[in-house]
Symmetry: C2
């Protein structure tokens, strides 16, 4: 590994001159520039980024902190984040927190220690509530979840509308007894629930508390809760889930109970995963614009680097309702 000193020696100039050539400063004689470039090529010199970072007090690394990269939503977002990051000369440090506030704090601290330029983060409610005690040394863009108060950059789905849209859809299909399973770990579930209930309210449908559940956003919980809902004296005619893991669990439970979708029970969920259109019947979903979420979040962060003073911004993106067979026409039912 050759250093800038080796290049300087080989080109018979000072390290300062080498640095200037590489940084494309003006005021270097063409002849000298050529000598330096030749030495660089000759030695196959590559600047040491660690040294550069130390001196410049900033790195070209972004952090991405999500609960679990295996959640298809985060998988898709992370890919978009990486693409955008690399396109702008940044690399990506990845962390999984499992919705564990302690891990979140640990990783945020790590990001500080690593001197990342900034972080894209999907926090739990707990960490969100302590946000102002944290005093992070780097800018952050929240995704998927956010504070009520608008003092952090964020890219979010319009969860209220999304919840409403899904609810309106099942209502329009004639379903009246509507079960719903939301994630409990984040603000997202709550907001989707509010949209959901608003739609029911607007349609004059009473909300039955026993139909609305908040659980850990995992397949297993979706499975268990669906069985509970189906075991009610008057089970729901359709089940709405607020993330794809819950949907998978619900689907499994419905299958095990031998119920036919959508004739005996409807099913709708969030996130257009690979399998939502592969299962039969295909699942109606509220698709999130994952690519745009990842890209916008990264761009927001880059803009924040460019102007630390500018007012925070919340980007609210709309979901897209993709109607499939799992929630078809049910008019005439009770």
């Amino acid at each position: 590994m050759s250093s800038i000193k080796d290049v300087a020696k080989a080109a018979n100039v000072s390290t300062a001159t080498v640095s200037r050539v590489l940084a494309k400063h003006p005021h270097v004689r063409p002849a000298v520039r050529e000598r330096v470039l030749a030495a660089v090529a000759q030695l196959d010199y590559r600047p040491n980024l660690i040294a550069r970072n130390l001196r410049s007090q900033q790195s070209k690394t972004l952090g991405l902190i999500v609960s679990d990269i295996r959640n298809p939503f985060f998988t898709a977002v992370s890919r978009a984040v990486e693409d955008t990051a690399y396109a702008n000369g940044y690399n990506l440090l990845l962390c999984n927190t499992d919705e564990n506030p302690e891990k979140e704090l640990l990783y945020l601290q790590l990001m500080g220690d690593e001197q990342v330029a900034g972080v894209i983060f999907s926090p739990t409610l707990q960490t969100l509530n302590r946000w102002h005690e944290l005093h992070l040394s780097f800018p952050t863009v929240l995704i998927d979840r956010s504070l009520q108060s608008g003092d952090v950059d964020a890219v979010l789905l319009d969860n209220l509308s999304a919840g409403s849209l899904l609810a309106q859809h099942v209502l329009s299909q004639g379903y009246r007894r509507i079960g719903a399973i939301f994630g409990e770990a984040s603000t997202t579930g709550r907001e989707r629930q509010r949209g959901f209930e608003a739609a029911l309210h607007d349609a004059g449908i009473p909300i039955r508390p026993e139909y609305v559940r908040f659980v850990r956003p995992q397949s297993e919980a979706g499975y268990r809760t669906t069985l509970e809902l189906l075991a009610l004296p008057a089970p729901p005619q359709v089940i709405l889930t607020s993330n794809s893991l819950l949907t998978a669990g619900a689907l499994q439970a419905i299958r095990e109970q031998g119920l036919h979708i959508p004739a005996q029970i409807g099913l709708v969920g969030f996130d257009d995963t690979a399998w939502a259109s592969l299962v039969q019947p295909a699942i109606t979903v509220l698709a999130q614009p994952t690519d745009e979420i990842g890209r916008s979040a990264t761009e927001l962060l880059l803009q924040r680097f460019a102007d630390p003073q500018r007012p925070t911004r919340k980007i609210i993106l709309q979901g897209e309702l993709i109607v499939r067979e799992s929630s078809v026409e049910q008019r005439g039912r009770t």
Copy 2:
């Protein structure tokens, strides 16, 4: 941000002493240690990892270079890699190459520039062929794909056995006209094919070239190729695919043709994705031990750090055949 100098000043000692206290060196008077620790706590001092890395000439970062994190195999592996990395005090830099050899070279170079401690890499055939020209400055563990010659650490599936196992399974189910779609980008597809053909050969079944295809390992190619296979004068009775994206495409094509699985056409594939057991009929798959692959690869890398001289090692893991409904009993067919 306070530096070690600030701590030294606050504790009225030299920076060397602060460093010693933090590194838990012996030979520091308890009283001084306390003073330093108090100053550290007081100032909320955290060592600057960049400076530490520069001085120690090594970082605590691993690189993970895969073709696309959205491929469920890599998603699962990456999670295991992260867990193991973090458990050992390392963080993870993530790159997606899209099977593009230029991107691979670029990212390998980046890893060098970032002075990562090591890299876990799933390379294309092209890059593998040029491996010895590369002269990487860091140790590497290959996953999923490898060189014939055993001079790089690697963690691999026993692809030959896996291919055989799947082929034997469909043979045992009475299928005789067997179509197969393999990925073309890597050695993996070739090996699975060799296992596949060996099993057919052992069973005395002739191999029909028109049934065996090599394509880009993507859903779209799986779809197109399946349509081609189904359009043959004597279409295969079962289709074997060598990764989950191909399986998804094949499934879609079969569905579109209105064919019944497994009565009219069987389907088997690789990787036990979330959806393989959710679709109906559930898909028979050769499951890869993704957790173990990720963990082993990371551990292999850590062992390499500990002993750069030790001979390279190839860890060959066995896949598990999970028989589901997509490939049931077909005895009596022609």
